[in-house]
């Protein structure tokens, strides 16, 4: 155990000397995919609750497909599937994008977490107390102002507990990145395992690192909930 830590502590934490690896890579994957997913989810959640079926329908299909299939399959489609299409290989922009494991991973992760987050936010918007909307209309707010000042802030706050859960699940999903040769914590642990034949300690150290990240995230979300959901506290 000690020799694995001595030999691998640097790649496990931030770098192998060439690129970003380990904890830094995992956090990078998590932050970027959650950011893109969040930016996707807010407008899509509004569209999901639209009255027009031509707006509602496509969003429903997107959520249905991405929450109904495993992330690993989505990653395989994007990483190996799309790259095998000749049209992609012969377009230089697409070729350079889909050749990089990390680009494909980020794309797959962002689309996946975007779908789950859309579901969460759309649910929270549906559960808005109608009196709040009525009051905002009575004051004479325009539709845009209504969304900007009432619906979005209030529903995002109330979605926080579920959203924190989604972020933790996303952290767990980032482990799939190692199948697309992205050097995250699990990839380094896997290398350590193949070099030392000590699976328990190699993966055990990775498990401890992931658990530390999980607990930190849970703590931060608790603090955020304490602050943003103060009005629900009893």
């Amino acid at each position: 155990m000690i020799d694995i830590i001595q030999q691998y502590w640097r790649p496990l934490l931030y770098t192998d000397g060439y690129t970003m690896t380990g904890v830094a890579m995992t956090l990078w994957l998590l932050v970027i995919s959650c950011l893109i997913g969040f930016c996707l989810a807010v407008p899509l959640a509004i569209a999901r609750n639209a009255k027009n079926p031509f707006i509602r329908g496509p969003v429903w299909t997107y959520v249905f497909v991405f929450t109904g299939t495993p992330l690993y399959v989505q990653l395989l489609i994007i990483y190996t599937g799309i790259y095998s299409l000749s049209i992609v290989q012969h377009t230089s922009f697409l070729n350079s994008f889909f050749k990089q494991g990390i680009d494909c991973t980020l794309l797959a992760f962002a689309l996946n977490t975007g779908a789950y987050t859309t579901q969460i936010f759309a649910g929270a918007m549906r559960d808005m107390a109608f009196g709040e909307i009525e009051a905002a209309r009575a004051i004479g707010m325009s539709r845009f102002t209504l969304y900007r000042r009432i619906i979005i802030p209030s529903s995002l706050r109330r979605a926080l507990p579920l959203y924190s859960n989604e972020v933790i699940l996303m952290l767990h999903s980032t482990t799939l990145a190692f199948t697309a040769t992205v050097p995250d914590i699990l990839k380094v642990a896997n290398d350590a395992n193949s070099a030392t034949y000590e699976p328990f300690w190699s993966f055990g150290i990775a498990a401890v690192l992931y658990a530390c990240i999980s607990f930190t995230l849970i703590f931060l979300f608790r603090r955020a909930e304490h602050r943003f959901l103060a009005f629900l506290r009893r």
Binding site: T69, P70, Y72, L85, H172, L186, S214, F215
Partner: protein, 230 residues
């Protein structure tokens, strides 16, 4: 377009493997969940402690990490055990390790689901059953369990969907499931995109079909509950 290139039977058997794996893991994790929930609700401090450590650790560590950890370590421990007992080496296949690890991991999630559901059943129900002279186990089977299931079903449905999707990970430790079959087919026919999408469609069909079954179950266990609205 819909030419499977002779890979149809392999893909079909891969799909069956995936279904078997998820159902067996569901059963294992269901039982572990019941056990864990009873441990968490018991009066014994040691049982509560062990169950709490179990659920906390499992839910904080990614399933893929635990799967690799257990898959490689279980075999080594097993070898040590058979060596110590002077038996022949016993090889764990990916399917068995898949069932064990998925069951062990999702047992923690089931523990939490069942704990919440048991606590939602009014205490008076069990008291009434006991005062009728029902034995503990009998009261559990006839009174507590059916009522608990109604509260547990939404969480259970969610866990089942997660298990079904998590079986995709078992191909990483070498199981010939639907993923492995479609990837092999894709490599051989140079049509990886089509076969990967096919795998996604199979999963989509499975999750949608099981949603229907779960809705029926929900109806069955909600007999006798009147909705406020309708």
């Amino acid at each position: 377009m819909f030419n499977l290139g002779g890979y149809g039977p392999i893909i079909l058997s891969g799909t069956l493997t995936t279904i078997e794996l998820s159902i067996l893991s569901l059963i294992v994790s269901f039982l572990i969940g019941l056990l864990g929930a009873s441990a968490k609700l018991s009066r014994s401090r040691i049982a509560v402690g062990i169950a709490t450590i179990y659920t906390t650790i499992i839910r904080a560590v990614p399933d893929l990490v635990l799967m690799l950890l257990l898959f490689y370590s279980l075999q080594i421990w097993l070898n040590d055990l058979t060596d110590a007992l002077g038996l022949d080496q016993f090889n764990l296949d990916p399917f068995t390790s898949g069932v064990i690890t998925l069951g062990f991991i999702y047992g923690a999630y089931f523990t939490e689901t069942f704990r919440g559901a048991f606590m939602s059943v009014p205490r008076g129900q069990m008291e009434a059953a006991r005062s009728f002279g029902m034995r503990r186990f009998y009261a559990f089977r006839r009174i507590l369990f059916p009522q608990m299931m109604r509260f547990a079903l939404p969480g259970l449905a969610n866990n089942w969907q997660v298990i079904l999707k998590a079986t995709a990970l078992v191909s990483i430790i070498g199981l010939s499931d639907i993923i492995k079959a479609t990837q092999d087919a894709g490599k051989a026919t140079f049509n990886g995109f089509f076969f990967s999408v096919l795998a996604a469609v199979v999963y989509l069909v499975l999750t949608t079909a099981s949603n229907g079954v779960l809705m029926l179950l929900q109806k069955r266990y909600s007999v006798g509950v009147r909705r406020a609205a309708s």
